[in-house]
Subunit: 189 residues, 2 copies
């Protein structure tokens, strides 16, 4: 991705996290990204194009902090990768709020569903791969269904994140619920 | 709740499920409920009052279909109650979409957070009570933490519902993920 494109997408995630999808106007994004509206139209064509690209960019952003979960043990990597989504840092909170908001918007805007689904599947697949590696290394039982477990854990992370952001669940409790869920999922015989 | 109040709230849930919280204008709600805007202002004072009341009403609506989960075995009741949230009927889908939309809106509208939190806690408590009853009847192990388990399962239902409504998870798969989660949570020794 070109620097300018990245710069616009970073601003888009920030604007969505602050004001929601409905708050994302091209003029406002141009001001936040410090570029012209013409450059935004050149890169993303229209508002729908911006939102689709923002979904991809969120996946890319999340990878930059979850890849830091470079524990050598693949089972520990699963835990780190998922728990890194529930961190009280500006960058994680912003990414997570924007992701939740785009997901919620897709309920009413069908054109967001295909990119949302692709990003969700990429995340599920990343977690599934780590669980399979943990199975190969003997730290997770071979009877665990890696696909189902990965999909359920990422769904739980989304549910916990949304309760966190909407004020129904304090972050330490969200982390506790996730930690014990991971144990429960991965420790069964 | 008076008949007129209920009539307005039923229309509010329908309008939110169709067009989102941003689509809820008092004039539109009046038309959908077939009442005057004056009557809406009389009952709910303002738009924020409508949204707060809608959150309570959603809890009431969900109870009308989840209470139908009147299996005699409390453990079966837990399963029925949670799975009834993932049903492809107009009423359940409408309630679930509106609930997700209000939750997503609370991220950006702090005045929705207290009623959202109260409704969430009431739901958690209902599930927790059923799990405790199942423990007393001997169908769930006494070592299961009823509070944590209830909170995690309701969070998972929300995450699954949102993926369902936003097109990232087909309903049968969502039900499968929930069914096996309930087994995993309740069957541990």
């Amino acid at each position: 991705m070109s620097d300018r494109r990245t710069q616009i997408m970073e601003a888009a995630v920030r604007v969505i996290a602050e004001d929601g999808v409905r708050g994302l106007r091209v003029e406002k994004l141009a001001a936040a990204a410090e570029v012209s509206t013409a450059l935004i139209y050149y890169h993303f064509k229209d508002r729908a194009g911006i939102l689709r690209a923002a979904l991809e960019h969120i996946n890319h952003r999340a990878r930059t902090y979850t890849d830091a979960a470079d524990a050598t043990d693949p089972r520990a990597q699963v835990e780190h990768m998922l728990l890194l989504e529930l961190q009280d840092t500006d960058r994680v909170r912003e990414t997570s709020v924007a992701w939740g908001e785009l997901r919620a918007s897709a309920v009413f805007h069908p054109d967001l569903r295909a990119p949302l689904c692709a990003t969700t599947e990429a995340w599920n697949a990343d977690v599934e791969t780590l669980i399979r590696r943990a199975q190969q290394s003997g730290t997770v039982a071979p009877t665990v269904d890696a696909g189902i477990t990965a999909e359920r854990l990422t769904t739980l992370v989304e549910g916990l994140s949304e309760r966190w952001h909407s004020g129904s669940l304090p972050l330490p409790r969200a982390r506790q619920l996730l930690t014990s869920a991971i144990e429960l999922e991965l420790d069964r015989a």
